[in-house]
């Protein structure tokens, strides 16, 4: 977070984290389309040749003014592939809030847990406790139910990922936009509350 007293702007960093091909970039792409009028710039994506996130995606969104300060939310994703842990850790530098995008497909169950554990470790490397930072879980790809792809039940996902964290969680489909905006709104409100505590 940086508070610019000259331009009266607060910059916040929210990172979308989760296993590879879980839908982090799709979340940002949906938001980029949905809020095109509030986003003055192009979304930045550092991708591999086969269209996987190599370093991060970046999307800044202006939220308007709160108590005389313009709020600028900077959304980042991390590369989900296991081999890119070094870059994942770099993107978490200075993070103010995290959205963990889990993949609701049954076959991705272990990868969700592995990625959440990895988030815990990488936050710890930045001296951040996963239990202290604003965090929202998103169980993505629920639309695949219509294609008869086996999905994990909400209770299973909650037990696997949220039994100790007890943070807000949303079933979502980043592809068609279901619960993408509510996820963002929730993490923004939690991050803003956390920032207000810090400013006091």
């Amino acid at each position: 977070m940086f508070v610019n007293l000259k331009t009266k702007e607060i910059q916040l960093k929210i990172v979308y984290y989760g296993p590879g091909r879980g839908g982090k970039t799709t979340n940002l792409e949906y938001l980029n389309q949905k809020f095109r009028d509030r986003i003055k710039t192009e979304m930045v994506s550092l991708k591999t040749q086969d269209d996987r996130t190599l370093f991060f995606d970046f999307l800044p969104i202006g939220l308007g003014s709160i108590k005389g300060y313009n709020i600028r939310i900077q959304l980042y994703t991390v590369p989900g592939q296991v081999k890119y842990n070094a870059t994942r850790k770099l993107v978490l530098k200075g993070v103010d809030g995290v959205v963990f995008v889990a993949d609701a497909q049954q076959e991705q169950r272990a990868k969700n847990v592995e990625s959440l554990n990895n988030l815990y470790e990488n936050l710890k490397a930045h001296n951040i406790d996963i239990f202290d930072i604003p965090l929202v879980l998103q169980y993505n790809k629920v639309d695949l139910k219509e294609s008869e792809i086996p999905l994990l039940a909400m209770e299973t996902l909650q037990n696997d990922l949220n039994s100790r964290l007890k943070v807000p969680a949303f079933e979502a489909s980043a592809l068609n936009g279901r619960n993408v905006v509510p996820t963002l709104k929730k993490i923004i409100s939690m991050t803003m509350a956390s920032v207000q505590d810090k400013i006091k």
Partner: protein, 138 residues
């Protein structure tokens, strides 16, 4: 929080220093940023029209990458590096443990001359931040 930049006057002073020390000498654009990718202060020649927020995010990422490479070869970090293009060049340097600076300049300006002026600007910025830290500590 805020790296010692605790009031509006400090940001005014930083911008003035950027304009006087770099922009007046022919630098197109200068950005002071933090390692998290936040834009702290910017100044430009009024001609260039870069997407500063994207530039800042990419600049912080670039620094982070180079720092990691430095660690691999047994260095703590590389405090400065630059990219050279046909018409435009970018010079990166580390101001302190938290702050970084990116300068965009054309082929009319030599790197050596730029570095001398950047060193002067960094000294001023460090002083401004230190004064802020002392003020807020009182």
């Amino acid at each position: 929080m805020n790296y010692g930049i605790v009031d509006r006057a400090q940001l005014e002073d930083i911008k003035t220093a950027m304009l006087e020390i770099l922009i007046s000498k022919g630098v197109e654009c200068v950005i002071l940023l933090d390692k998290a990718g936040n834009t702290i202060a910017t100044a430009d020649n009024g001609v260039c029209d870069y997407d500063i927020y994207a530039f800042t995010a990419l600049g912080a990422g670039n620094f982070a990458t180079v720092e990691s490479m430095a660690n691999i070869v047994g260095e703590n970090d590389f405090t400065q590096f630059f990219h050279t293009g046909e018409k435009t060049n970018i010079y990166f340097c580390k101001v302190d443990d938290n702050l970084l600076m990116v300068s965009v300049f054309g082929k009319d300006l030599s790197l050596g001359y730029l570095r001398l002026n950047v060193a002067d600007l960094m000294h001023k910025i460090r002083l401004i931040c230190r004064q802020g830290i002392e003020q807020s500590g009182r």
